[in-house]
């Protein structure tokens, strides 16, 4: 039995996905989350997450990145309305494929089973984007100097979105004190001494794709 998590901020979509997945005897929905934060709050017990890309709060891509950074990571399928162009970033974040809103119930179930097997699932449009995409960061060495690991990645993305320290600490599963130490280390590596300057440096070296 493949355990499936659904993460979408639209209730109707969550219900439709749960019904679609319920028609397949090989699949069972074990988690339903209305936001990336909720998915990351208790992420275990799922083999394949179906994530909406565009959500309020933490985006689907950032959620995917955080889920894939776990020690025993689940597979992640991105569920999107359009956005072939988001395929490269989602893939870099660790997504194993793309499901399009408008897919049939059978297509959804087949895609989840393929993802659980580690097979890549994609439309032709997304595959084309992947083929022609260039590496995202404008200066990957500079970015990696500041952002060392997946926890830094979560912090950096939220910092650039103006998140509070409490929000960043929760998302990165740190205490506020631990978060402050992380931020201080990132500032040191960036050669700056304030959060606004760190933000400006991050914007300069990484063109964040907020979704």
């Amino acid at each position: 039995m493949i355990r499936v998590g659904i993460c979408d901020d639209d209730e109707q979509t969550r219900d439709w996905l749960a019904r679609a997945i319920g028609t397949d005897r090989e699949l069972t929905v074990t988690r339903v989350a209305g936001s990336g934060e909720a998915a990351l709050h208790r992420p275990g017990g799922v083999d394949v997450w179906v994530l909406d890309i565009r959500m309020n709060g933490i985006s689907g891509i950032e959620t995917c990145r955080a889920l894939r950074a776990q020690s025993n990571p689940p597979q992640v399928l991105m569920f999107t309305a359009l956005a072939d162009t988001e395929a490269p970033e989602a893939t870099q974040a660790g997504a194993v494929g793309f499901l399009y809103k408008g897919a049939t119930q059978v297509q959804v179930c087949n895609a989840i089973e393929m993802a659980a097997s580690g097979l890549f699932v994609s439309t032709q449009g997304a595959a084309r984007e992947l083929l022609h995409s260039s590496p995202a960061p404008r200066d990957p060495r500079a970015y990696r100097t500041i952002v060392l690991d997946p926890t830094d990645e979560v912090i950096a993305s939220l910092l650039m979105q103006g998140a509070s320290e409490r929000h960043m600490a929760d998302a990165a599963r740190l205490t506020v004190s631990g978060l402050k130490k992380r931020l201080a280390a990132m500032r040191r590596r960036a050669g700056v001494d304030s959060s606004p300057r760190l933000m400006a440096a991050l914007y300069r070296i990484r063109d964040i794709q907020r979704t």
Binding site: Q161, G162, S164, D193, S195, P196, M199, Y203
Partner: protein
């Protein structure tokens, strides 16, 4: 004034926009002159960082946008030295007005302000819309650096990938140091 306006009579809207620009420019000059004169009382009666922040966020929200504002500490823009307050207010007003006017308001905009012992730093960032509006030659963003220089600070405002980022640093000096 654009070439079109020189060859064809301006519409009443164009004329009103031009008059408003002149008024803004005058207000800006008065603000700088006030700072240079060191008149605390006059400057306090005009724009402050706190009022500019409040009004800028209101303007963005009225335009349908969402602003994430982080202050470190919470009162980072309260009780600033008079000259820095006036300059920070002018820059914040301009930067936030431009967010309201030009940003992709479907995405949240960010202002982060940090006040340290000897410096006030702030960054205003927003997503550039897929089809950026043409710039109409307003005084605005180009002047931010000039405003910051009045108090010995720096300000840059430029596109960074698909974001527009305005970064400002203003030194905070003791009154004794300034005289």
């Amino acid at each position: 004034m654009t070439t079109d306006m020189m060859t064809t009579p301006p519409t009443s809207e164009q004329f009103a926009a031009f008059v408003q620009k002149v008024r803004d420019a005058n207000a800006s000059l008065r603000s700088v002159a006030t700072v240079l004169r060191g008149s605390d009382q006059l400057a306090r009666e005009r724009l402050t960082a706190a009022s500019a922040l409040r009004e800028g966020i209101d303007e963005i929200e009225a335009a349908g946008g969402k602003m994430h504002c982080v202050r470190e500490p919470e009162g980072a823009v309260d009780n600033l030295p008079c000259d820095v307050d006036a300059v920070a207010g002018r820059i914040l007003a301009e930067a936030l007005h431009n967010v309201a006017k030009h940003a992709d308001l479907a995405e949240p905009c960010v202002v982060s302000i940090e006040r340290a012992l000897h410096r006030l730093d702030f960054v205003v960032a927003n997503r550039i819309p897929p089809k950026p509006p043409s710039m109409t030659g307003g005084m605005g963003l180009l002047d931010l650096g000039t405003h910051a220089e009045v108090v010995g600070g720096t300000a840059t405002s430029q596109a960074e990938g698909s974001n527009w980022v305005c970064m400002v640093s203003l030194p905070l000096k003791d009154k004794e140091e300034m005289t």
